[in-house]
Amino acid sequence: MNAVVMGLTLRGLLGRRRSLLLVILPVLLLLLAALIRWASGGEVRSSVHLTNEFALGTLLPLMCLLIGTGVIGSEIDDGSIVYLLAKPVPRRTILWSKLVIAWAAALVFAVLPIVAAIEIAGDDGGRLGAAYGVAAALAAIAYTAIFVALSVVTRNAVIIGLLYALLWETVLGGYVPGVRNVSVRQWALAAAERILGDRATVWGVTSEVSLTAALALLAFATIGAVVLAVRRLQTLRLTSAD
């Protein structure tokens, strides 16, 4: 990893106007959690509903998309990545440095707010928060890696990522049962289900896949995305439209 790349990446991620979204979306979640607490009086099932539908289903992929494209996509789009690439630094190192920043940002701006939201909306002694915290962290690792890879592979990463996050994970996942097996969200939920044990069924935290399969698939997706991203960065084509 390279401290200079990490520093520039962090400045780039937080320095642009769209970094405001990184704050606005979590604040929205916390406000929603407060509203639900007020309406349901801290009932755990409402908290689960909020987390499943909004936090894990929509907010987390969106945040990871913002972060994943923010750490590398915008630099590839405007061409400024040339200043990092035209250096005697292995491209692998550049990608890892950016990915670590992305993961850290996802933890701070997405995973922690989700845990906080659960505590606000209603929890049973922190059990739900811990279980969903682990699930959100796992999902964030995979989502971020996937969206970083997507940014390196295509200049339409934001559009494709949005379609994936909104259509695949949310809409299709809701109607087509098979789709749910191929979903980062379902894989991550398997971890939450296991951690909660017997309470999982009571609270309605269920996943479509078994824990072993889920962890294997998460690892496969993450590693696959990283390998793809490194490869594509090594042969990234950088030319203006001459």
Binding site: G12, S80, R237, D242
Partner: protein, 303 residues
């Protein structure tokens, strides 16, 4: 001293050929890569800088392949055409970051030297976002020079510069060339290239059209007379003066204005204002009729 060698390099995007079997050797000194827009200059520079794989052929720097070989960037300094930089840091921070990425022993010292070379020390503590186009160009130059590279690749470095900045950059490039560095820059403006480049490589429609000493190429080009269309207060009297002066071969008044063919561009453009003044004629418009680089290049290619 470094030499960049392109050996039968071609690059195509689908059906479009951007570079067609280009072979050239770029050695120490200043080389100008000249060609009309769309000739493939940026494609060629991207391949020289290791940002694009040749579809066929090879690009090597002192014998080592450039593609997928980040180590070459110890020797190469790159000034890209894109204007985007890391807007949220200051010029100083950005150049120091570049020096650190090169793992220089004294990044601050190298950054200071590079910023002094491009005369940007005064504005170094401002955010890059606040810089003018010319200042950005100079900071780009500083990032390329910070590790003291033996090869400098510049893609359209004069674009968007005002005349003063242009002169300054020309001086700087000239100095770098005299120090024995291999400096290559692209441009679509003949006069820029002619001004500083010892060697010119002409690229037309992806093909390597001409190469060598600019005087030789220039001579090739002037075999075709330059044509001008002039409108003035008294075309007929001006035509007589021009013919009498001998700075043009042919004058033609039949098209309603004055058309002139001059074999020697430099002589004619200097003579015309003098002739007009001496004969009391006011010039309204002087426009080159076939002076587009495109037509000159086409002519070169057709040879």
């Amino acid at each position: 001293m470094s030499t960049l060698v392109l050996d039968s390099v071609s690059r195509w995007y689908g059906n479009v050929v951007a570079a067609n079997d280009v072979t050239m050797t770029i050695g120490p000194g200043i080389t100008g890569l000249l060609g009309p827009n769309g000739a493939g200059k940026s494609t060629l520079i991207a391949m020289m800088g290791g940002f694009l794989a040749p579809s066929a052929g090879s690009v090597t720097l002192d014998g080592a392949p450039v593609w997928r070989h980040p180590e070459i960037y110890r020797a190469i300094g790159l000034v890209p055409e894109t204007e985007a930089m890391y807007d949220m840091v200051t010029g100083w921070q950005f150049v120091v970051a570049n020096a650190r990425l090169h793992r220089l022993p004294d990044p601050e010292g190298a950054a200071r030297a590079a910023l002094e070379t491009v005369e940007m020390m005064d504005a170094k503590d401002r955010d890059i976002a606040t810089y003018s186009k010319g200042m950005k160009q100079r900071v780009k130059m500083a990032t390329a020079l910070v590790h003291d590279p033996s090869v400098l690749l510049l893609d359209e470095p004069f674009n968007g510069m005002d005349p003063r900045q242009r002169l300054h950059l020309m001086d700087l490039l000239r100095r770098l060339g005299e120090e024995g560095r291999t400096v290559l820059f692209s441009s679509h403006i003949l006069e820029e290239v002619e001004e500083i480049a010892g060697t010119i490589e002409v690229l037309v429609a992806g093909r390597h059209a001409a190469s060598g000493d600019f005087r030789r190429i220039r001579r090739l080009m002037t075999e075709r007379p330059h044509q001008y269309t002039i409108s003035s207060s008294d075309d007929r009297r001006l035509a007589a003066a021009i013919i009498a002066d001998g700075s043009a071969d042919t004058v033609d008044l039949s098209a309603g204005n004055l058309a002139v063919q001059a074999p020697d561009f430099g002589r004619f453009v200097h003579a015309l204002p003098r002739l007009a003044r001496d004969s009391g004629v006011r010039l309204f418009e002087v426009s080159p009729a076939d002076e587009s680089l495109e037509s000159v290049f086409t002519y070169l290619v057709a040879r």
